[in-house]
Symmetry: C2
Amino acid sequence: MVFRSHMDLALEQARAAGARGEVPVGAVLVSAAGEVLAAAGNRTRELSDPSAHAEMLVIRAACAALGSERLTGCDLFVTLEPCPMCAAAISFARVSRLYYGASDPKSGGVAQGPRVFSHPQAHHAPEVYDGIGAAEAEALLRAFFAGLRSPLSN
Amino acid sequence: MVFRSHMDLALEQARAAGARGEVPVGAVLVSAAGEVLAAAGNRTRELSDPSAHAEMLVIRAACAALGSERLTGCDLFVTLEPCPMCAAAISFARVSRLYYGASDPKSGGVAQGPRVFSHPQAHHAPEVYDGIGAAEAEALLRAFFAGLRSPLSN
């Protein structure tokens, strides 16, 4: 399935982010024609930028490449439920479909707490499909945070 | 009052943004010592970046200048109530105090709809002071949108 291979690419980005010491989350932005416009993992530590979540990086890169503030018709694949910052950016960019992996009860903003797309202040809501590649995404996150807690880990 | 002069600087940034054809919103980031770390107005059109709200630009600039993802002790002044994207970024950056001007019932994320700081998914909430310079901020926004609606306007 095409959407599974895109999520696999997002998982690769998540693994690469974890290897850089970043929270292992990855995202891929795909055009209406099925072309990968951008792929990225978190870079908040590397860039000293609290906004440098994977979703923000692919949205900004794809918009820059297209010379447009809008990504109408595009799909976003991300390994973890977006936070409210990323959910709002997805709405502003008019992303058509959001596919995500693991749920994020602690910090999510789509199905948790702020539920950004569910208020009239969101002027666009994407179609949302959750749970795709969730087991792999959760395993990556669990291993990363277990490593942070263990003084004997790499 | 110091906080009024910082809001005046944010209003100047908002006016400059409007003159560039951007939605007239401005923001200023001030260190715990009272130093202006960054000042910006919206640049979403110019940069083809839906995340380039004034608040995001000053947070990113101040973090880059300090080499840190966190702005603990810092104050953010912005002419309009932040949207959910900016509110979440303010939370991630651990901004201590948020001063804003006009309320934004249509797209706000602090006192409206998603109320980003009011959920357990927000791991930090700034002190929030609203209504500072609100009349000027509202007048700028009203004039800007009236201009967009009138075919005879500049």
